[in-house]
């Protein structure tokens, strides 16, 4: 039986109550912001509550928002409460899906940008193991209680965390700028042909 997004949002609000700091709809999917200490509990409720039934683990990843161009009136707040990076922090993103009731939930968990630490949800979803390993090596997030937090894709001696915005692709950071004009308008302005 299909659950309409608005109904899903109501049910989520009812089941989670004060545990979520923000709940809204985004393109037909429920979007939640959860504080770090409630995160595992919220994931467990989403999975086990029969009225919600988010049993399908779609993915876990992270987003580095440090260079995101925010508008001045942008209401969205990422970064843990009290830390310096309210906007433009790093967050863990978990997507769950209910195969029976057909609705989606995106879970945003703001982390401390300088030392991102997050509890592991491998105890709730086994599949999170690889996803957390990938997020750990790509974003430098430490997942506590993870059974095997080794690198997944990268070699053991790889330095840095490639998916952070501060990590520049070698091909883009070492090459010189293109010497000429990049488009006709620019060339005309410079008096060139």
């Amino acid at each position: 039986m299909r659950l309409e997004p608005a109904d899903a949002l109501d049910r989520v609000k009812g089941a989670l109550g004060e545990r979520v700091t923000d709940a809204r709809l985004n393109h037909g999917q429920v979007d939640l912001t959860v504080e770090l200490d409630k995160y595992v509990e919220v994931v467990r409720i989403l999975r086990d509550d029969i009225a919600l039934g988010c049993r399908f683990f779609t993915f876990l990843s992270a987003i580095d928002r440090s260079t995101y161009k925010y508008d001045d009136d942008d209401q969205r707040e990422t970064g843990s409460a009290g830390s310096q990076n309210k906007k433009g922090g790093i967050e863990v993103l978990v997507h769950l899906y209910s195969p029976d009731k057909i609705w989606h939930v995106n879970l945003h968990v703001p982390l401390d940008f300088d030392a991102p630490v997050c509890p592991s949800i491998t105890g709730v979803f086994r599949g999170a193991e690889w996803h957390e390993r990938e997020a750990a090596e790509m974003f430098g997030i430490h997942f506590t209680d993870h059974p095997n937090l080794t690198t997944l894709y990268l070699s053991e001696d790889f330095e840095g965390h490639p998916m952070l915005k501060s990590f520049k692709l070698p091909a883009r950071s070492y090459v010189k700028d293109w010497p000429g004009a990049k488009d006709p308008d620019e060339a005309a302005a410079a008096g060139g042909r």
């Binding site: 399908f56 161009k69 508008d71 979803f125 599949g127 790509m138 997944l152």
Partner: protein, 393 residues
Amino acid sequence: MADTPKVLEPELQNLQDSSAFANEVSEGRLVTEQMLLNVGPQHPATHGVFRLLATIDGERIVRAEPVVGYMHRGYEKLVEQRDYRQITNLISRMDWLSGINNELPLALALEELMEIEVPERAQYLRVALAEMNRILNHLMFFQSFAAELGAITPTFYAFREREDIQYAMETVTGGRMHFGFFRPGGLKEDVPKGFVDMALASVRKVIKRLPDYEDLLTGNEIFKQRTINIGTLDREVAYSYGVSGPIGRGSSIDMDVRRDEPYLVYDQFDFEVCTGSHGDCFDRFWVLLHEIIESAKIVEQALAGLPPGPIMGKVPRVVEAPKGEVYIRTENPLGELGFYLVSDGGRRPYRIKIRTPSYSNVSALPFVLENTLVADMIAILGSFFFVLGDVDR
């Protein structure tokens, strides 16, 4: 004579020991030394460079750990440096057996953010091409699974059928693997004259001939012995790993994005979602095989009802997605392919999280391989239908 029993005694003792030994072995109480077996990274059964570290105890796999990353190309980082139209051609290379299906979620995500309306003809053609690509992909795994189990004949049949469909797609897109044909807002160009007939003939051939191939394998006693009740994946475990596609449906997960949340014009077509009941190698293969027929039916319906009209919606000259975030998923041949697109309003995406089906499916392998026999390992690997480019991205 009196000495004889003394001489015999140790041998008798040995004999008794060995029968006790045999008992212990048969009851599984005996702990023998474990051995580490390395499979790959270049093993013919792995469809790419995939390495499996299996700890075995006699004939039994105690623990299996897949080692991936040999083909990691960092698409999630690369797409942040390119504009949207370049990305289409890049992500086509993720799962190289289903190129055109990979391009679809990006186009859909951009259309959702930019609020572009796609003309009906383009939608129908997208469905037809995506389903033809699904047949190509499934026929490939149909033959590779059989070949891994030692049956070489299906390879020749599958490639004969593949070639016709491949040729029809080549006349449209110019490519055989990496098509680069879907654009945000529609298609690169319209299909040439004669394509509809050519495509219809090729899929009808598949519908006509597939039952024979099915009998060749699913009715085969050796094939059954090697796949039934081998490598079972429980439904709840499959959920928690996020296993989708033919592998998930083999484990009786009744889930198909095309039916549950129809994108494009899938809600206008009549097709069935096949599911297995035991979640073993046979069920996974059975689902894969029957999806070929369903896909062929969709292609028939889509091409028979192909409406006239434009193939491109109103798209600005520069593709710039407005600020926002959206998660779009489609049913890729191997499972759920999802794009979480974060845009900050530029020509390039701020971040795209690519959720590939093979990645989640392969992460369930350690669970399935535990406590199976070494002899079944290749059957299980083959029945997981993964493409390494899709795992490593």
